[in-house]
């Protein structure tokens, strides 16, 4: 696992990851934390290497993990990791910044940048490849300083690797295990400051846009007292007031599985209130398996799935998806039609409503679907306000072409 600390390293380590992966035939993780992804720093690019021409080379024991091949593969994996660990000690992307021997800091990723600023005089060991960890390098470094502190974000991974190998290092106080690190917090860690941290004024939370088609759907779910298994998108904001109409959100596609689980396990009077709500792009990403499960193991009280189809992937910046009929570059391609898909799988109650053109439609249809002990799929279709203009233009172009 490689841990970049800025944009340059994100770039360099990506190339290094490919090198390691090709040399040892092993997957490599590039650990991109939120802050690395949401920051931009200067970088110098390298000459692009041309990829080798693709050709299939048969390697059955290496790629087909039946038990007879998996057992030796496990041994090969351990041997590779031992080789990578040895390489990491001598040639890995490790960096030592010289400084005063009174304090040594072992760090990785974004924490390195905070450390350089918060403890400018400290000697620093920056670990680039954190798994397998360069424990002998850590041991020598710790022996070269009077006090050796590990500064890493979140759980104490490098600290535990060092201690397991018998390297005497200190870890950050428990209170800094939680939340993101920054320069101020690293200063406090170095100083051993355990006093409460200043509370910051709360910002304004985001909300569904005025005029957003999802608003009417969440008002209906709220007013009908539904138990809502939600999913990931703008519409997760349905959890906040004035709607307060979402009860679970786990991972993409979970709306359907969680909703079915609740239907199966709750007493019937509660089960009848359970609705799964998922956005269009989330549905095509990982909701279809749930829909198949809904048909295969229908709960005794039936189930209601609402697909919020706003014709785009609004939360991440208006990308196309398989339900729009256009590729990411907006060129026309095949389209997955949710109504057809649901009917093909054997769902008889398939409703399509426009929650803006007919604002009562969603309440009416939800009430009807909730009143039957059957499977229903409701498609609430209305383009996202922010995307509606460009969607119209693209549709016009497609129709003209």
């Amino acid at each position: 696992m490689l841990e970049p600390s800025d944009s340059q390293e994100a770039y360099d380590y990506t190339l290094l990851a490919i090198e390691i992966s090709e040399r040892w035939r092993i997957p490599v993780l590039l650990r991109m934390t939120t802050r690395i992804c949401h920051s931009a720093t200067l970088l110098r690019t390298q000459a692009q290497l041309a990829p080798p021409p693709p050709a299939f080379v048969r390697d059955v024991p290496g790629r087909v993990m039946i038990p007879a091949y998996a057992r030796p593969a496990h041994q090969r994996l351990r041997a590779k990791l031992a080789e990578i660990a040895a390489w990491n000690e001598t040639d890995g992307p490790t960096q030592v910044v010289d400084g005063d021997r009174s304090l040594g800091i072992v760090t990785s990723g974004i924490s390195y940048q905070h450390v350089r600023e918060a403890a400018a005089r400290a000697r620093v060991l920056k670990i680039g490849l954190s798994y397998p960890p360069p424990v002998e390098t850590m041991r020598r470094f710790a022996a070269s300083v009077d006090r050796c502190l590990v500064v890493e974000e979140g759980d104490p991974y490098l600290y535990e690797a060092a201690r397991t190998a018998g390297v005497a290092v200190e870890q950050k106080p428990e209170m800094y295990r939680f939340g993101e690190l920054n320069v101020s917090r690293v200063r406090r860690i170095v100083a051993g400051d355990l006093s409460p941290e200043p509370a910051l004024p709360a910002g304004k939370p985001p909300e569904l846009c005025p005029g957003c088609p999802h608003r009417n759907v969440f008002e209906a779910l709220r007013d009908l007292g539904c138990i809502v298994a939600g999913d990931i998108g703008c519409y997760t904001l349905g959890v906040l007031p004035p709607f307060s109409a979402m009860d679970t959100c786990v991972c993409m596609g979970a709306a359907i599985g969680v909703g079915l689980g609740l239907r199966h396990s709750l007493p019937p009077e509660q089960a009848r209130k359970v609705v799964s709500v998922i956005g269009d792009s989330t549905f095509v990403h990982s909701g279809i398996t749930g829909l198949v499960e809904m048909v295969y193991n229908p709960p005794a009280t039936g189930h209601v799935l609402v697909i919020l189809d706003n014709g785009t992937t609004a939360m991440t910046g208006m990308q196309e998806h398989p339900g729009t009929g256009r590729r990411l570059d907006h060129q026309p391609t095949g389209r997955v039609v949710f109504e057809d898909l649901a009917r093909t799988l054997g769902i008889r109650n398939v409703f399509t409503v426009d929650p803006i053109a007919d604002s009562d439609s969603i309440t009416r249809v939800l009430r009807e679907a909730l009143g039957r002990d059957e499977l229903s799929v409701i498609i609430a279709r209305r383009p996202c306000l922010l995307a509606a203009g460009s969607i119209k233009l693209r549709e016009k172009k497609t129709n003209a072409g």
Binding site: S39, Q113, E117, N182, P201, K204, E207, L237
Partner: protein, 159 residues
């Protein structure tokens, strides 16, 4: 204006949809064009959904952390009056607060150029040449918005 070796810390804050990230991007690009090290960082969960958004820009000879430490911003540019108190803790004692009240917004051809107009106000206090600002504004926006935004920048820059 701090000396050359010091890092200049700027925080741009506002609400989703106001162009906070566009403004911090233009500032970072201007500093880059001036040959400085520059880092930019942002918090923008659902930035088009009207919530608080803020973005840090730090530039100087060498910048380490991409985040402005609390209480260490030299300049705080706030695009929405409601966000002044939310963002104020980042400002250092004696730091400069730049807010829409410093401008006559009615002079803007396009009121969505407020972000760029406030960059003009910021530019009065930074040692970054106007031609670099202009180039960064042009690079960040489609051509049809160049005139309105260069005008907005000028309104802030030369009141």
């Amino acid at each position: 204006m701090p000396g050359n070796s010091a890092v200049v810390n700027v925080v741009v804050a506002g609400l989703g949809g106001q162009g906070v990230l566009k403004a911090s991007g233009i500032l970072a690009d201007t500093a880059f064009r001036a040959g400085l090290d520059v880092k930019k960082s942002e918090i923008h969960g659902m930035s088009q959904r009207g919530g608080s958004v803020s973005s840090d820009v730090r530039f100087g000879e060498r910048v380490f952390s991409p985040m402005v430490p609390l209480g260490e911003a030299n300049f705080l540019v706030v695009l929405a009056a409601s966000q002044v108190e939310v963002a104020r803790p980042v400002l250092r004692p004696g730091g400069v607060l730049i807010h829409p009240g410093l401008l006559d917004e009615t002079q803007l051809t396009n009121k969505r150029s407020l972000n760029v107009a406030l960059l003009g106000v910021l530019a009065r206090q930074l040692d970054l040449a106007d031609n670099l600002w202009h180039a960064a504004i042009r690079a960040a926006l489609p051509e049809k918005l160049h005139a309105a935004n260069l005008q907005a920048f000028a309104i802030g820059r030369n009141p």
